[in-house]
Amino acid sequence: MKLEELARQSSEWLRGSGPESDIVISCRIRLARNLANHPFIRRCSDTDLAAIERTLYETLQSEPKLQDVGYVNLKMLSEIDRQFLVERQLISREHADSNGARAVAIHPEEKFSLMINEEDHLRIQVMNSGLDLDATWEQTDAIDDVVEEHLSYAFHQRLGYLTACPTNVGTGMRVSVMFHLPALVLTQQIDKVFRSLQKMNLAVRGLYGEGSRAMGDFYQISNQITLGRSEKDLIQQVSDVVPQIIDYERRARDFLVHENQQDLHDRVSRAYGLLCSAQTISSEETMELLSSVRMGVNLGLIENLKIPTINKLFIHTQPAHLQKLRGTELDTANRNIERAHYLQRHLQQDGADAAENN
């Protein structure tokens, strides 16, 4: 699999299609699975890891339904390339940073990735733009069935699928929906929303699984419980809160538009101005400004700019992406310069294209 080709295409999860895509970005389901006859990762020797990786590789290779996946051996990959896969959410940070034989199998359009030797032997994750959890579950379930035809999973009659961490035991499933919630952050209501979600046993994480202050105001909401409820129930539990969160964010946006129109417009325009004219800019600042601009476009405060362009910029301005797109390694200072140039080029071009079409 050519990572350079991936770099140019937009990730499935950031394509931003589907209803209410101004707030609901994407959904994802992951299953944690382990092979019955091997120790869990913590207890694996290098030989064990290599054997598990081999077994899963051969399974994927021999399965016609999984023929088109690209198989990437993480052990052989440079740090930038591993970071690049983390930025695209195809692997986790821990998976990138750990040692020993490990790999990821990636669907050509990045609709799913199969992480081998992450925290569990196998993690199946399926991603879709917008909010279609039922279809996402069908795909996940099908991949799980296909893999299971070839090997025995660690399974306990009473406890279900056995996982390295008891927080995942049972279904081994995590259902998550990613939102863009800039107005809830701006109006300082986000913590309140999170607290009420936590009471319902739902977890909130940032774009890359970070805690309280999420990058670019992207938040993922997911189930915490994995045991004692069916997959359908868990999906329902997460689906049930989605309309509410959309409603909260809409109300916060309405409030800003009606009560704070001038401040909001100023904030959004300044963000856009900075992104268009900065000469050097960090990744964090870029994410923050892009978040304001994204909301501005969605509220009609900025014209001549398309949402897919902004979605793409969120990911293309990340450190490893910038370097892959540029085709050379850059230190932090040079990355900040390259990032500023990249933003200028793409924001101006998008503006020009839109003006032409008008």
Binding site: A36, P39, F40, D145, Q157, L159, A164, L227
Partner: protein
């Protein structure tokens, strides 16, 4: 900031006030959940903290000695790393894990998808473990006839378990 127990980013920050000094803990979500679910209030609130501590130390020593027959992990190791050693740990440390699992999931039984094949694998594994133990004991008391018969049975079972 990294979790103090694994490689994940720390998202839960706990300040423990147990002694004269404050203990700060920085944990990821999973380790945090495990940590917090172990912080059950003492069943007998009149018990003095020192006594509780001693009991914990005894418990800890006992836990350190109990080791999974398959992977050699102790429950103590799990408490430290937040990760189990092998699927059999769930059987071996069932008593210790149960309250933790109930705390995390508010449930004890899996509902939902089941593998279409190989469902018996963990039960088979328990049987295998028991037979290996019996074989060891037979050898110790020099009952080689029983030992060799057990060895053959184990081999047969292991053959069956191999994925086709």
């Amino acid at each position: 900031m990294k979790c103090q127990q694994c490689e994940k980013p720390a998202t839960i920050h706990i300040t423990e006030i147990t002694g004269p000094e404050l203990d700060e803990l920085h944990l990821c979500e999973d380790c945090g959940k495990i940590y917090l679910s172990q912080q059950e209030p003492a069943s007998d609130s009149t018990m003095s903290p020192q006594f509780k501590l001693i009991e914990d130390a005894d418990e800890l020593a006992a836990l350190q000695q109990q080791v999974c027959e398959i992977c050699g992990s102790s429950f103590y190791e799990f408490r430290h790393s937040g990760r189990l050693g092998c699927p059999h740990d769930y059987v071996c440390f069932e008593t210790e894990l149960e309250p933790l699992i109930v705390n995390i999931h508010a449930a004890t039984d899996h509902v939902g998808k089941r593998p279409k094949r190989g469902v018996n694998s963990s039960e088979q594994q328990v049987v295998l473990v028991r037979m290996r133990q019996e074989m060891k004991e037979a050898i110790e008391r020099e009952d080689y006839e029983t030992a060799s018969s057990l060895r053959d049975q184990i081999q047969e079972l292991e053959e069956q378990r191999k994925p086709s």
